[in-house]
Symmetry: C2
Subunit: 673 residues, 2 copies
């Protein structure tokens, strides 16, 4: 849609929906932005970046070849940087964090897929901030911030992902020349995936096994120039290129990189923590692992926020479309209802609105928790670190997985039209589904959380204190159960009982297996399906609890109707997930079969209550049409006109007869091919 | 991979896996093909179609623009028709049905997405066979079979999908000229979606509201010429074009079509059932609805078969990759395990193998059932029709939905590499996910089945006889429950109890709502979430029962180890789905919490038992590399070499520096943009 931001009259269906909405939409927008001041700031940035229409493409991106898409994205990345540089200078008052999100979201108007510069600001810069000494920063930061060079971050190899210790690229120190020699010994050691690496960047942070004085000290980080600054040619000893077409991210020129005994100066090792001295002496870091936490948690906070934003986009599109689309005739002689009036449609969509809220708040809460833990650490207290790690792992895993499914649910709710690229939904999906894998695969992250949970369970059994998010384990091991009362607090309590029950079952399985002769590792391995389930249950309890508490805190001073609708969404979230795990509820909480039936009725009532406010709720996300990129979801609801206008842009429609008719079809039909 | 079918040595990981396999792979291939004779036939067709390498592309399809992709697909469609015509002449002995599947599957080597001719053979031809009189067939069939004309089928409109009665296109009979006047009164009445319509076909079956003598007789079918046979120009009064880029099917030039008082001869109405006489008299069909069943059920049989085939592809790719890929180090000082050794990976993959078998058999069974019902009908017995309709609806819905999720599960199990288009998995997904919507949306079809189930429940309550697939309702209403024993038969029994319990709860909900004053329609509407769940449960019971019985029947004369592994897969399927619905089991069957824990243990044991045969099981699908199109899944398991070879084909890699460096990147880095 961004191609041609025609102004159309608002569809009467949406006019009526908006008139029906009983709460102040702007008030909810402020809540979601984190305050009115942030909303104004966001709108100003959006206005600077978008009002001039610089995001527009002559031909919609989806009709270009991948190479043309890339070239168009480079053009627009440079343009976006230029516009935004000025915008940033104008708004230096607000903290960096909120600015980052606003810019990231606004950039979606420019890129249906993604900018090839993403990792320059998203990984290259933060890693220099986190891993370089002050002198190194003095050298690199100005060049990076001013985009005199463009960089990326290369860790994953063709044969090695999650398991960092298995990386094969080597950096061997040569004290003669005071250089590191980078080398890729095998095909599986080729760096693979780094965004922007294929054709765009000239610098790259490389993760490699450090060897000095004949000893391997594990993986360390190095800043490596890979292309000539003047000619952009790969430097001698460097093999670099693009990895080929992907499901999404096709404008990000993800790349491969291999070294043939390639030399870099000693100073290019990132030395904030470990160091290699001129003579090759390796100086260990104080607490290597813990100091690298920061970037990792930050990236996860950003990811949870990012998927929440994408879910907001998807359900804005699907909800507006559902208010416009009419289908079937359940009652004779009555007009076809809006599909938003169908209970099954409400079931598909309203959980998306609630989840977008829940995850947006969870992301902000994780950031606050992280900062609290960091300030504890400065006082020498590292007790909360394992919990933070477990939390950030399961939140990243569950949020990306939930959102991936829910976006498809939005797409399905739009029927065939959701399958059109101009609906915007397929692009949102192919972008978000990748987040389930990168920066820690779903299963592996949940198993990391499970390891924390099993340890915490053993502590609870032993009567040792446990950290805040797993306090529920103490009640569980003491045999205490809360009688089911169906209240929101009661449901959250039951989620905690489910989590505790699942962890307890895992511990039992592991112990049984060990007592029948298996090693701990083998017993653990055989129990991993259950362990993943336990970590999921724990995370669901945490998100539910946080969502309810944060909404109560934030809406304390809100108007009555805003309070009511926000609470309805919290309850919807709780009921939805309770009904999703009735097996666990029946096994581990004190719920009865009859209670489950009541829960179902209550859930169906909530859908009916939320229905009149549905369009208002998605309007409150306040997503500009240019950012939505959707013929189905634009503010005016002119679904059919916009679908048809998009079709007319297809290059195949620019000529009445395609040349293949004369070359192939006609000869075939005349039996002459 | 098809681009460059290099012959490589088989990876030692796969050599070892194949040596470990304890059953006769070819025997299972024969089972899946429906007998040795069919296997030989299939292999001969594949050999004719593929051995010459006609499917090869100079540049891999994923690097072309959508327009270039379409043009390439037309070229190859003509080529495929030519090759296959000869192949068909050579093998006329076998029945049409099996030939259709073999050709459809073999065509996947030519089309990563789909042929623009798909609907010519898939809908145009069958509709002519089903809806034309003998004279009409005599006129049209030779032209269609010989591809003298190319056609498609246009039913859906921009504003109307599922609800056929809502279609707006009109066909008004004019007795003066003995013509029908086709007209599209609104934008929402534009035909939308028909495959091949955009640029390829010159004929089209159009569904329109028939008006004659001032009366509307509902939707009827018309054969309409839309383009000139010589010039291919759209005929006057016809507006036709392509609908634009989609998530998949981009080579199928789905189109739109509108009429401006466009005239066609009276004879072009398909008159096997209803007729319009010269003077405009409308002659009603005997049993309109029932006679059109055939095509619909056939299409569903084909769809279930098609998704089973695509799941076989996906799990072949993911299983072979998982045998080659090594990751992490759960035990110190031991090598990284094959990821296929992880329990969570087995959990993701083995259910896919079992489901591919279950659905392949379900499709064949549905076809048999359909034919039995048809021959009953010829004897005047139409009692089984509602059951057949309910069955075909829920089987289509559940199979497409299960497979859609399982294909993503396969893709996720391949980590980042699954996101590469050259893995083959994203294409399989974007193809299959569409089947969840077209030919009847998931939710709507399940609600149709639910309507049948609620009626059957009322019959059971009233003591009236019910049809075979819902016999379990009689036991349920009599209050009889089977004690849980954990056997396969017992699990299937419990699935039937779940279905009955769910239907019973729905009936209760509807009655409660009606007794509080709601109309039946409103009470039904509010219960639809539960009704969908009930229909799902019923369908799961049917698939499970059929799967178990068909495997027992087919493997009666198989060798022992084939019997064992096939039974293990059936049990795996049963345990997987039982564990997935523990809430229902605990509510409606006599299972205990302890039994659930045992079910879980048993499931984990089954994974371990199947593990050594995993690669053998996917080899048994016998999918040629050309059809798989996968760097990760090829028979030789040379995953990394093939990934890298694919990357090198990217057009971006054909020049060391992209022109955007000079145009945009360098000026940006030098602050000159």
């Amino acid at each position: 849609m961004s191609q041609n931001k025609t102004i159309m009259e608002v569809n009467q269906e949406l006019v009526k929906e908006r008139a029906k909405c009983n709460f102040n939409v702007l008030e909810v927008t402020h809540i979601l932005d984190g305050g009115e001041k942030n909303t104004l700031h966001r709108k100003k940035i959006e206005s600077i970046a978008l009002d001039e229409g610089a995001y527009k493409d002559p031909i919609p991106e989806e009709y270009l070849s991948p190479k043309e898409k890339y070239e168009n994205a480079v053009r627009k990345s440079c343009l976006f940087c230029k516009i935004v540089k000025n915008a940033l200078t104008e708004f230096t008052g607000l903290e960096h964090f909120s600015n980052f999100f606003v810019l990231r979201r606004t950039a979606d108007a420019f890129f249906k897929e993604i900018s090839p510069f993403l990792l320059h600001l998203g990984m290259f810069l933060p890693t220099i901030l986190g891993q370089c000494t002050t002198e190194q920063q003095a050298y690199w930061l100005p060049r990076v911030l001013d985009i005199q060079i463009i960089g990326t971050y290369a860790q994953t190899e063709l044969g090695h992902g999650t398991f960092i210790r298995g990386l094969e690229t080597t950096a061997t120190y040569d004290p003669e020349t005071e250089e590191f020699v980078l080398h890729s010994p095998t095909l599986t050691s080729y760096k693979w995936w780094a965004g922007g690496l294929g054709k765009t960047v000239n610098y790259c942070i490389v993760v490699a096994q450090l060897y000095t004085k004949g000893v391997c000290h594990g993986t360390h980080l190095f800043i490596v120039q890979i292309r000539d600054e003047e000619t952009h040619m790969p430097l001698p000893g460097i093999k670099v290129g693009e990895i080929g077409a992907k499901m999404g991210f096709n404008t990000a020129d993800n790349g491969y990189l291999a070294f043939d005994h390639y030399r870099i100066p000693r100073q290019n090792m990132m030395m904030k923590n470990a160091q290699v001295l001129k003579d090759g002496t390796y100086v260990k870091p104080d607490s290597h692992g813990k100091l690298t936490y920061g970037t990792m948690v930050l990236v996860r906070v950003i990811l949870v926020n990012e998927v929440a934003f994408n879910l907001a986009k998807a359900c804005t599109i699907a909800t507006r479309y559902s208010a416009v689309r009419r289908q079937s005739q359940p009652k004779p002689n009555e007009p076809e209802p809006q599909i938003l009036d169908y209970t099954t449609q409400q079931h598909k969509l309203f959980i998306c609105i609630a989840t977008a809220h829940a995850l947006q708040l969870a992301s902000a809460w994780l950031w606050k928790t992280f900062n609290a833990v960091m300030s504890d650490m400065k006082k020498g207290n590292t007790d909360s670190l394992p919990e933070l790690h477990a939390l950030s792992s399961c939140l990243k895993a569950l949020s990306t997985s939930d959102v991936t499914s829910l976006i498809e649910q939005c797409r399905y709710s739009c029927g065939g039209h959701g399958y059109m690229l101009c609906s915007g939904l397929p692009n949102i999906y192919s972008f978000v589904t990748a987040t389930r894998t990168y920066e820690g695969d779903y299963t592996i992250l949940l198993l990391q959380t499970a390891r924390f949970l099993v340890k915490a369970y053993e502590q609870a059994e032993a009567g040792t204190p446990v950290t805040p998010t797993v306090l529920y384990l103490i009640e569980f091991v003491s045999g205490k159960r809360t009688p089911w009362d169906g209240s929101p607090e009661g449901i959250i309590k039951s989620f905690q009982e489910i989590a505790a029950g699942n962890i307890s079952s895992c511990v039992k399985s592991i112990r049984n297996r060990m007592s029948s002769g298996l090693s701990f590792e083998d017993a653990w391995e055989l129990t991993t399906i259950q362990l993943v389930g336990a970590a999921e249950a724990h995370c669901r309890a945490v998100i539910s609890d946080t969502y309810k508490k944060e909404i109560a805190r934030i809406t304390a001073s809100s108007s009555t109707n805003v309070k009511i609708v926000m609470e309805q969404l919290v309850n919807l979230y709780l009921h939805y997930w309770a009904l999703n795990r009735t097996g666990d509820l029946l096994r581990y909480s004190s719920i009865s079969g009859e209670d489950v039936a009541n829960l179902q009725m209550k859930y169906e009532e909530l859908l009916t209550l939320i229905r009149p406010n549905a369009v208002g709720l998605v309007d409150a996300f306040d997503l500009r049409d240019e950012i939505l990129h959707s013929a189905l979801g634009s503010y005016d609801g002119q679904v059919y006109k916009r679908l048809f206008a998009e079709a007319l842009k297809s290059p195949l429609n620019q000529e009445p007869v395609n040349e293949t008719f004369h070359k192939y079809l006609k000869p075939t039909m005349q039996g002459k091919l």
